[in-house]
């Protein structure tokens, strides 16, 4: 019935645990910025500030507590013991958007909710990032034919990382977070404010 064997070990390559001090430092996110800052054009004065600030930012992304639908339950799952988003310093879910850096748009954005999501995003202080989680907020997903669902949250706010899945399993979620960390590493200090792009 099923003659095709798909070798899954090749897909999910397990990242080696850092051994040497250099690897450990790179793992935290500092070294990479030091190396890559040279290639980037930008204000020279800001580059050292860049490294420190980017490292700080990617190390302490505090998400805002805003679950919308199904994915919100998996968001709890990510924060809970088995997956423990706290390892990345992200367990401080701030209920007030004023103190948050990151918004997970976790679930269906309905027409009625859309202006609220936008308002929530606007309330967050710069620099801020958005991860769109799950099919519903990526494109409307299962409900994209519906009369009351917005077809993708990127129609109203800029999205940095899209995580497919319905809902994505917590590891996929963490992979998305790691992708965002990679993105922040390579940003300029003022990238979010339009200077030093």
């Amino acid at each position: 019935m099923d003659p095709v064997t798909i070798d899954t070990t090749k897909i999910s390559t397990i990242k080696k645990k850092p051994q040497t001090a250099l690897e450990k430092l790179e793992d935290t996110g500092l070294i990479h910025t030091v190396l890559s800052a040279k290639d980037r054009k930008g204000l020279i004065l800001l580059t050292t500030v860049d490294q420190i600030f980017n490292w700080a930012r990617l190390s302490s992304l505090w998400p805002v507590t805003s679950g919308l639908a199904c994915c919100a339950i998996e968001m709890m799952g990510v924060a809970m013991a088995h997956h423990d988003i706290a390892r990345f310093g992200m367990e401080i879910f701030r209920a007030s958007p004023r103190q948050a850096d990151l918004m997970f748009v976790a679930g269906t954005v309905t027409k009625r909710m859309a202006p609220r999501v936008k308002q929530l995003y606007e309330m967050m202080p710069e620099p801020k990032w958005v991860i769109s989680v799950g099919s519903c907020s990526n494109t409307g997903g299962p409900y994209h034919e519906s009369y009351s669902v917005l077809k993708g949250v990127d129609l109203i706010i800029p999205v940095d990382v899209y995580i497919p899945g319905c809902p994505p399993r917590p590891e996929a979620w963490l992979y998305g977070v790691i992708q965002l960390r990679e993105k922040i590493k390579n940003e300029g200090y003022g990238a979010k404010w339009g200077i030093n792009k």
Binding site: P3, V4, I6, H82, P142, Y162, P164, R169, A172
Partner: protein, 138 residues
């Protein structure tokens, strides 16, 4: 004054403190359960429904998966002169109906879940990223 009749010896709280302390010290089969994701992974079940893969030889481009998909995630597109499905994973709900419907058993679901990407367009998986050859290790 109902609160006056309550138990003020606080045995309930002390019991609670004891059970949390048991967890702190890992007494009696209460280990730390965290799987440190980038370095360790949970064992995935063989039936896990992740990203799709299409058997290049078996797929006949009939479009039955396209018809059976509940939310029109699948589109049949031309690739290398033949017709193959293209999947918008940003829209897919990973229900597995396309796998059930395929008359040739050509469409499968792999255990790949690391799909996050930076743009909306890059989560649309065309045949170039979906196809595999039978017998070939993926």
């Amino acid at each position: 004054m109902a609160w006056m009749s309550k138990n003020w010896t606080m045995t309930g709280i002390i019991m609670g403190l004891v059970v949390t302390l048991k967890h702190v010290l890992h007494i009696g089969d209460r280990p730390t359960v965290t799987v440190q994701y980038p370095y360790e992974r949970m064992k995935l079940a063989p039936r896990f429904r992740g990203r799709h893969a299409v058997d290049e030889d078996a797929c006949i481009g009939c479009g039955i998966c396209e018809v059976n998909c509940p939310n029109s995630t699948i589109r049949i597109v031309k690739y290398k002169g033949r017709w193959f499905p293209e999947l918008n994973l940003g829209m897919c709900m990973f229900c597995g109906l396309c796998v059930d419907a395929c008359p040739m058993n050509a469409i499968k679901m792999t255990q790949d879940y690391e799909l996050a990407d930076y743009t909306r367009e890059s989560v649309v998986y065309g045949p170039d990223r979906l196809l595999f050859k039978r017998g070939e290790k993926w």
